[in-house]
Amino acid sequence: MAGINRRRLLFGATLLSAFGLSTVASVADTEIYDAKTRKWVKYDRATARKMFARNGQPPEAFRMQMVKFRTAEKPGTIIIDGNQHFLYLVQPGHQAIRYGIGVGREGFGWAGIVRVGRTAEWPTWTPPAEMVARDPNAAKWAGGQPGGPDNPLGARALYLYEGDRDTIYRIHGTPEPWTIGLDVSSGCIRMNNDDIVDLHSRINVGAKVIVLMQGAALYKGV
């Protein structure tokens, strides 16, 4: 396999962090237009928590909506724009359904072309060995956390494969809906539970998934 495996990718990311070299993706700030003040405001964890507490949902831009999308990719293809925090599901007629997403935090972003290998409803979460080693909260679930409202994978999971091999990355729901629009994960793509349930109902196993993320390591040697 010509692709970079996850261990190499994480090793590269660790090296970048160790030398103070962050990826371009991590340098970018997300901004939200505040209709009340008519100003663009930085959208970070604190702002996201505050806005979600106030509105009970993510900012309008990160809610599910139909948008114009000019592409030669066939309907059913999933396009992830990690920099802008959008996931597009291509529809006929140069349109797409756009959802808001949370993506990998500094050093954990990636780009590549993969596919949906399988899906699950209320999936069990089993943290990968690297996460168990670095995160005490993950370590207690080394044997697997049963599906449910507190499970980090949320209501549905789409397991991303490269060929027949599980990449360990998933598109999944979350019990933390305020994190949509942020760089928060360990490389997985997270969505609101309502949105992942909707996406899960619309896609087929085998669907092509294109992950765009400027400055991130390539998952595979495309």
Binding site: Y33, F62, R70, A72, Q84, Y88, L212
Partner: protein, 103 residues
């Protein structure tokens, strides 16, 4: 006549206020565009149009061409850098989805 003049002036002021308000409203982004990043990457669909153009022009398999970088060149166009099975290409595409060049 002064009353009429006052009325005209008031109407003119009201119209100006309406126009100003309309101007303010039109300067707000559409709801779907109320989020942005400081990176100013090309929209995803334009990046993929470039990927398709590179695949077509080089004969590379479409699942081997991935946009890896992009930037706004001017008000109407973007430059997209692509990886095609390890080979780098550059593409310029405009806001209307017209691919201007592939190298």
């Amino acid at each position: 006549m002064p009353a009429l003049e006052t009325s005209i002036v008031l109407k003119a002021l009201a119209a100006a206020a309406l126009l100003a308000a309309a101007g303010c409203q039109s300067s707000s982004p559409e709801p779907q565009q109320m989020a942005r990043t400081t990176l100013q990457t090309a929209p995803a669909d334009l990046q993929l149009l470039c990927a398709n153009a590179v695949a077509t022009q080089t004969g590379a398999a479409s699942d081997k061409v991935l946009p890896v970088n992009s930037r706004q060149l001017d008000a109407t166009s973007f430059q997209v850098e692509l990886d095609a099975a390890g080979k780098r290409h550059s593409c310029v595409v405009d806001n209307d989805g017209n691919v201007k060049s592939v190298t």
